[in-house]
C-alpha cells in the first residue's frame, strides 16, 4: 500500500515536472514568435521619399523593393507610381510585407485593403516626431541599435546650433502664385524654431494661402522662399512690385532640403541657424 502511494507521488511529480517543462517551452516559443515580426519585414515599399535615406542609414536599403518615381535615394529599384497614386498591381506583384506611406490621406483605408501588407504611416510634423518615428521604424525592422545611434547623431547635430542674440521672425514661402506659406503643422515651423527663429504664420495647417497684405503687415526679419517642385523658378521676392516696401532679408533655399520631414531636416536646422547668425553679423 505504502509502495503504491510512493509510486503515485513519484508519478505525479514527474507529471508536474513535465507540465512545467512544456509551460516553459511554450512561453519561450511565444517570446520567440513575439520577437519574430521585428525582423520579419523583408520586402518594404516606401511611398514617402523622406523615409528612404533613413532606411539607408539603418542599413536596410536591401530590403526595399519599391519606391515612388520621385524617390531617387535607392538606385535600381522598381518604381510603383507616385506617392499620391501608387499602382496597386505593381505593389502586389512585389509581394511586400510592409508599406511605409505618408499619411492616411495619401494611402487611404480602401487602398490598404487591396494590398496584403502591414502599413506604417510616416507623417511627422516636428523634429522630435522624426526621432520617435526613426526609433519605431528601427524597432519594426530589428535595427534598434542603429536607430538609437542615428537618433543620437541627429541630436548631436542639433547641438551645433548656436543661440541667437534675438529671435528672428520668419515667413516661409511654399509657393509664389498664389502665395502659400508654411503653417503650424509644417515641418518647416519646427526647423525654424530649432534654428532659433519663429514662424510668424500661426495658422493650424501645413500650408495656407494668405494675403500679401498680411506679409507686409507682419514685417518678417527673414522671407524664406523655397525653390523646387512646388515652387519652380519663382520670381525673386525682392523683384515683386507688391513687396517693394518689405525690408526683410530674402533667403532662397532648396525645397528638398527643407520641406521634407526626414533626416535632412536636422541639417536644414543647422544651416538655417548659420544663415540667421550670418545675417546678424552683417
Amino acid at each position: 500500500m505504502i509502495q503504491k502511494t510512493e509510486n503515485r507521488i513519484k508519478k505525479t511529480g514527474r507529471v508536474k515536472f513535465g507540465h512545467s517543462l512544456i509551460k516553459i517551452l511554450f512561453q519561450g516559443l511565444l517570446l520567440c514568435l513575439m520577437a519574430l515580426p521585428a525582423s520579419a519585414y523583408e520586402k518594404i515599399i516606401v511611398l514617402y521619399p523622406a523615409v528612404s535615406p533613413m532606411l539607408i542609414e539603418l542599413g536596410v536599403s536591401d530590403r526595399v523593393v519599391g519606391t515612388t518615381r520621385s524617390d531617387h535615394a535607392i538606385k535600381d529599384i522598381v518604381q510603383v507610381g507616385s506617392h499620391l497614386r501608387p499602382n496597386i498591381e505593381l505593389m502586389n506583384a512585389l509581394d511586400p510585407d510592409l508599406i511605409i506611406a505618408g499619411s492616411r490621406r495619401a494611402f487611404p483605408v480602401n487602398m490598404k485593403e487591396r494590398v496584403k501588407a502591414d502599413i506604417f504611416y510616416y507623417d511627422p510634423a516636428t523634429l522630435d516626431e522624426i526621432l520617435v518615428k526613426i526609433k519605431k521604424i528601427g524597432a519594426m525592422l530589428g535595427r534598434e541599435d542603429k536607430a538609437e545611434a542615428l537618433v543620437a547623431r541627429l541630436k548631436s547635430r542639433l547641438s551645433e546650433i548656436t543661440p541667437l542674440p534675438h529671435q528672428p521672425s520668419v515667413i516661409y514661402e511654399v509657393m509664389a502664385e498664389p502665395l502659400r506659406v508654411a503653417g503650424n503643422r509644417s515641418i518647416v515651423t519646427s526647423i525654424v524654431s530649432a534654428a532659433g527663429g519663429k514662424n510668424l504664420v500661426s495658422i493650424d495647417k501645413k500650408h495656407a494661402v494668405i494675403s500679401t497684405e498680411k506679409v507686409l503687415k507682419l514685417e518678417p526679419d527673414f522671407y524664406i522662399y523655397q525653390v523646387g517642385p512646388m515652387n519652380k523658378n519663382p520670381e525673386p521676392p525682392g523683384e515683386r512690385p507688391f513687396y517693394r516696401s518689405l525690408k526683410s532679408k530674402y533667403i532662397r533655399i532648396n525645397e528638398l532640403e527643407f520641406a521634407r520631414p526626414g533626416i535632412n531636416a536636422f541639417d536644414a536646422a543647422v544651416k538655417l541657424n548659420r544663415i540667421f547668425l550670418g545675417a546678424g553679423d552683417e
Binding site: M175, P178, I210, S211, L216, K232, P241
Partner: protein, 316 residues
C-alpha cells in the same frame, strides 16, 4: 438702371479698398498701411475689376458670335486652351511667362476653332460651338495629364487654376486696360450690326451687314480678352455667362446698352467677389476667387432661371 450699375461699381470699389486682410484707417495711415494700400490692395482691386469687365464683355461677344445664350469663354474652348498654355509654363518652371503662354494658348485655340468652324471664310456658329467643346475637352485632358506628370508640383497647378488676383501689379492693370479699350473701340461702331446679327444670317446680310467679317472681329476680340484674363488671374468661371444674362433680364437688351453695362457689371461683380474671397477667412487666409464666383453666380443664376425663365430666352 445705368446709374444703379455705376453706383454698384463705386460701392464695390470703395468697400474693396477699405477692407482686407489688414485693417487700414484710410484717413490716418501709417507707412506700412500706405504701402499695403498702394502696392497691394489698389492694384489688386483694379485688376479684379478689369478681369471682371473683360470676362463679361467676352461672354457677350461670344454669345453674339455663336447666337447662343450659353456661349462663353468656356464653351468656345478659349478659356481651357489659355489655361493649358499657362499650365505648360508652370510645368516648365517659366512662372514669369505665364501670361504670355496663356495668350499663346488662347490664340492657338482660337485659330484651331476658327479653322474648323470656317468654310470659305464663313464661320458656322454651330460648328464653332462643337469645335469649342471638343477643344475644351482636349485642353482639359492635357491639363489633367500634365497634373499627373507633375507629381510634387501638382498643387501649384491646381491652386493656380483656381484663380486669384494676388500677383496684381500696376503694369498688368495697364496692359489689361489697354486690351479692353482696344476691344471696346474695335466694336464700338458696330452696336446696330450686333443687334441685327441676332436675326438669321440672311436677314442680317440683306441689311448690308458683313456677317462673317463681323463674327471674325468679335471672335478675335473676345478671345484676346479671355486669354489676357486667364493669364493674369487663372480660370474664373461663370462671369462671362451670368453677367450678360442678368443684365438682359434688367432690360439691357440692345448692344449699345448691353456692352457698356457688361463692363460695369462684370467689374462690380468681380471686385465684390474678390473682396469676399480675401476677407471671409481669418488670419489673412484667402479663398480662390473662382470658388466664390461660381457659387454666388450659380445660385443667383438659378434663381433667375426659375423666376424669369420666359424672358431669359432672348435669342429665341
Amino acid at each position: 438702371m445705368r446709374l444703379i450699375l455705376l453706383a454698384a461699381l463705386a460701392a464695390a470699389f470703395v468697400a474693396a479698398i477699405s477692407a482686407g486682410a489688414v485693417k487700414i484707417d484710410l484717413f490716418n495711415m501709417s507707412e506700412i498701411e500706405r504701402n499695403i494700400l498702394f502696392d497691394v490692395r489698389l492694384p489688386r482691386v483694379v485688376l479684379a475689376g478689369l478681369v471682371g469687365a473683360a470676362l463679361a464683355m467676352s461672354g457677350v461677344l461670344f454669345q453674339y458670335v455663336m447666337k447662343n445664350p450659353l456661349a462663353d469663354s468656356f464653351t468656345t474652348g478659349v478659356s481651357a486652351s489659355s489655361a493649358m498654355g499657362a499650365v505648360i509654363a508652370i510645368m516648365l518652371g517659366l512662372m514669369p511667362y505665364i501670361p504670355l503662354f496663356a495668350l499663346a494658348g488662347g490664340l492657338a485655340g482660337l485659330y484651331l476653332v476658327y479653322r474648323i468652324a470656317s468654310d470659305r471664310g464663313r464661320i458656322q456658329p454651330i460648328t464653332m460651338l462643337l469645335a469649342g467643346i471638343v477643344l475644351s475637352t482636349f485642353a482639359s485632358a492635357t491639363i489633367s495629364f500634365m497634373k499627373f506628370l507633375s507629381d510634387d508640383a501638382v498643387s501649384s497647378i491646381i491652386f493656380w487654376l483656381m484663380g486669384g488676383f494676388q500677383a496684381a501689379t500696376v503694369s498688368k492693370d495697364l496692359i489689361l486696360f489697354g486690351v479692353i479699350c482696344l476691344s471696346f473701340l474695335v466694336i464700338r461702331g458696330d452696336y446696330l450690326k450686333l443687334d441685327i446679327l441676332c436675326f438669321d444670317d440672311t436677314t442680317a446680310s440683306s441689311t448690308g451687314v458683313d456677317v462673317h467679317g463681323l463674327r471674325k472681329k468679335l471672335f478675335f476680340a473676345a478671345a484676346l480678352l479671355t486669354s489676357f484674363s486667364v493669364g493674369y488671374a487663372g480660370i474664373i468661371g461663370f462671369v462671362g455667362l451670368i453677367i450678360p444674362h442678368i443684365l438682359r433680364l434688367g432690360n439691357f437688351v440692345k448692344a449699345s446698352y448691353l456692352l457698356p453695362a457688361s463692363l460695369t457689371g462684370g467689374a462690380a461683380f468681380m471686385i465684390a467677389t474678390d473682396l469676399i474671397a480675401r476677407t471671409i477667412l481669418q488670419q489673412g487666409q484667402e479663398l480662390p476667387v473662382g470658388v466664390i464666383t461660381s457659387s454666388i453666380g450659380g445660385v443667383f443664376f438659378l434663381y433667375l432661371l426659375i423666376k424669369r425663365r420666359k424672358e431669359l430666352f432672348y435669342f429665341n
